[in-house]
Amino acid sequence: MNFNYTDEQQLLSDSVERFVAENYDLEARKKIVDGEPGFSREHWRSMAELGWLALPFAEADGGFGGTQVETMILMESFGKGLVVEPYVASIVLGGGALRRGGSKALKEKLMPGVIDGSVQLAFAYAEEQARFDLEDVVTAAKADGDGFVINGAKSVVQNAATATHIVVSARTSGGQVDTNGITLFLVDAKADGIERYDYPTVDGLRASEVKFKNVRVGKDAVLGDVGKGFEILNAVANDGILALSAEAVGAMEVLYKDTVAYTQERQQFGHPLSDFQVLQHRMVEMFMEYEQCKSLLYRATMETANDSPTAQRTIHALKHLVGRAGIFVAENAVQLHGGMGMTEELRIGHYFKRIVVIDSVFGNTDHHLKKFAA
């Protein structure tokens, strides 16, 4: 067992820390979030140049052959700056599906673009009736000639508005909640029959409701095998959970540390707030919850990278804890900042919103506790 970064991982960590410190203070982020397309194309290019967009992809595909550990290092720092570039949507999720399920031809066609940033992906899996259940898929793909016709609707699809391609889960056979019979397709985002309703989300990101109306795709659009998409879908969702949890852990670190700093500065009753024991204890609890999340994050990430048989259960544990503890830390950071914590002016509130949203993605705290206990 070893918790030390390799030299390469340390370099990665240093460079992403530097990137966030230089580019992601609250003002700079606000400018990006309020502008179009909701992230910085310049940052996206830098990320490509720094090699980050290549991290999780196999060397044979032009990538660096990294694992979930490298993604974790990156995402934890992204969480400290609330980075909004579509790394999770395009690289972890869309890219994760492509690298796992794409045919040789499809990868040859798209991977260079994914890695240089010119191709952007979105991952359309969530449906209204499904709530948090990945296998609950109503969107249907019917075989038609030598391809498929897709009909259905997907919700809260991140980065759909700027994606060049959308990965979509659709049912090709079986009942509504069968894991068998789900197929993943990679669809041109401009294909006829795709309709989008785009909107900003409360955490400063962008998402869309995406409708598929008789969208035609060829056989070559299938990722993996027809009807066997769930395995890929689930693996991609697990990677998504690990990435978002790392982001949340980074955000929790900022929240507890900012609170410790603020309460030492703010004076009331002739004392810094940090003199009051009840607040000291609260901050100690915030700190402990953060450390606990970090521990499960390491555990789940390394188990996944090692293909451990316990990885799935640990991922459930992680997402449960990140939801519960993350919201505890976030709510108390606001509480201990008093009125200031409620403002858009301090960064606390922005981290708070992001943490609450993360709980709603890929299953909330209750959902994963239930799966963990099952």
């Binding site: 990101l205 509480q335 403002t343 509130g349």
Partner: protein
């Protein structure tokens, strides 16, 4: 002890129900006109437009049980939009400590909802430690007016207010609760600048108010100079009981159940999921208890006069309950939590995030929870700290 409503109370409840249904807003009607008429009708019922005002000031003089019935019934109905600052906060101060002239000058407009008030207490350096406030008021040599300078912050609705009731410092005696003076002055005048503060989710309800050389005639001072703290403290108790929002929470909880039951999960609904159901049930238990804590406190107050320290329990527990309801509404919204107000997902979920974000302030304003617990420790448990 008897838990049943008396025949008189039942009669009263029927009358309230009759009134609320006959005066209800009809969709499409002119809102402003309806609002004016509603208050006029309520007034004609014998002070129902100012239920909490004492009888000698035109209130209905209800018993605690009647107040409870009113709260319960009105929580279900749509009442006209009303701000608490004049009716609920300043009016009791005027009645308790204002001069006859001041009462006659200000109360009728407050009652008619003609003049909007805001509360100028908090300052950048004086939040929980309100008594450290620094906004300065200096009496002119002829003793006719004060000149006020300072900054107020978090002033709710200052941008819509006609007047402000404001705590100012007229003297530094070393004891911070002394030397505070309670002044009233108009907001629309040179020397007052209102700057919006945007809160989480983009709402504008609070402001910073910069006060520069504003002249306030002494007639606008409540009570004696330097005694403002005593007056304000009484008012804070009123504010806190109002903030518990118990009957509103009872209604919100029912709504939450309804919404959760509309979220289908296979052949069942979200309400059937054990974890969610247990959280809703625990909320209901706490709320049932709090309802009776309020009733006990009202009954005690009716016998003994002043509101007891129970008002602190109510504020603490009541605001926590409101926050839990808001949080569970977001949870019920599931994947749409991020959507806040967008036309996506179930209708009920669209306002969920905004309410949840706003609810985080409930344990901050009107006395932050941590400080409220200090108050209970000291005033109710009688704990004397050896530190200070």
């Amino acid at each position: 002890m008897d838990i049943d409503l008396s025949p008189d109370d039942l009669k009263f409840r029927a009358e309230v129900r009759e009134f609320l249904s006959s005066s209800a807003y009809k969709p499409g009607a002119d809102y402003g006109k309806w609002r004016d008429e509603w208050f006029a009708k309520a007034k004609a019922k014998g002070g129902w437009d100012v239920p909490k005002w004492p009888k000698e000031f035109g209130g209905p003089g209800w018993t605690p049980t009647q107040h409870y019935i009113w709260e319960q019934e009105t929580a279900q109905a749509t009442l006209p939009w009303d701000m608490p600052f004049g009716i609920g906060m300043l009016a009791p101060i005027l009645m308790g400590y204002g001069s006859k002239e001041q009462q006659e000058r200000f109360l009728p407009d407050i009652r008619a909802r003609k003049v909007n008030w805001c509360q100028g207490y908090s300052e950048p350096g004086a939040g929980s430690d309100l008594a450290s406030l620094k906004t300065k008021a200096v009496l002119s040599e002829d003793g006719k007016y004060y000149t006020v300078n300072g900054t107020k912050i978090w002033t709710t609705a200052a941008h819509m207010a006609d007047w402000i009731f404001c705590l100012t410092r007229t003297q530094d005696t070393g004891v911070r609760q002394e030397g505070i003076t309670f002044l009233l002055f108009p907001m629309k005048q040179p020397g007052i600048e209102v700057k919006p503060i945007i809160t989480l989710g983009g709402a504008h309800s609070v402001n910073t108010v910069y006060i520069t050389d504003v002249k306030v005639p002494v007639e606008n001072r409540i009570g004696e100079e330097g005694k403002g703290w005593t007056y304000a403290k009484g008012l804070l108790q009123h504010e806190r009981t109002g903030l518990a929002g118990i009957s509103r929470s009872l209604v919100a909880l029912e709504k939450l159940k309804e919404h959760a039951a509309s979220v289908k999960r296979g052949n069942a609904t979200l309400m059937d999921e054990p974890a969610f159901r247990a959280k809703v049930a625990a909320l209901e238990v706490d709320l049932m208890a709090l309802e009776f804590t309020e009733l006990r406190s009202l009954a005690a107050a009716a016998k003994g006069g002043a509101l007891g320290p129970e008002s602190s329990i109510m504020k603490l527990k009541g605001t926590e309950i409101q926050q839990r309801i808001a949080k569970l509404t977001v949870e019920a919204g599931g994947i749409y939590a991020a959507g806040w107000g967008m036309p996506i997902g179930a209708k009920f979920a669209r306002g969920g995030m905004a309410s949840y974000l706003a609810s985080r302030a409930y344990t901050i304003y009107g006395g932050a929870s941590e400080v409220q617990k200090d108050v209970i420790a000291k005033n109710v448990l009688g704990i004397r700290s050896s530190q200070k």
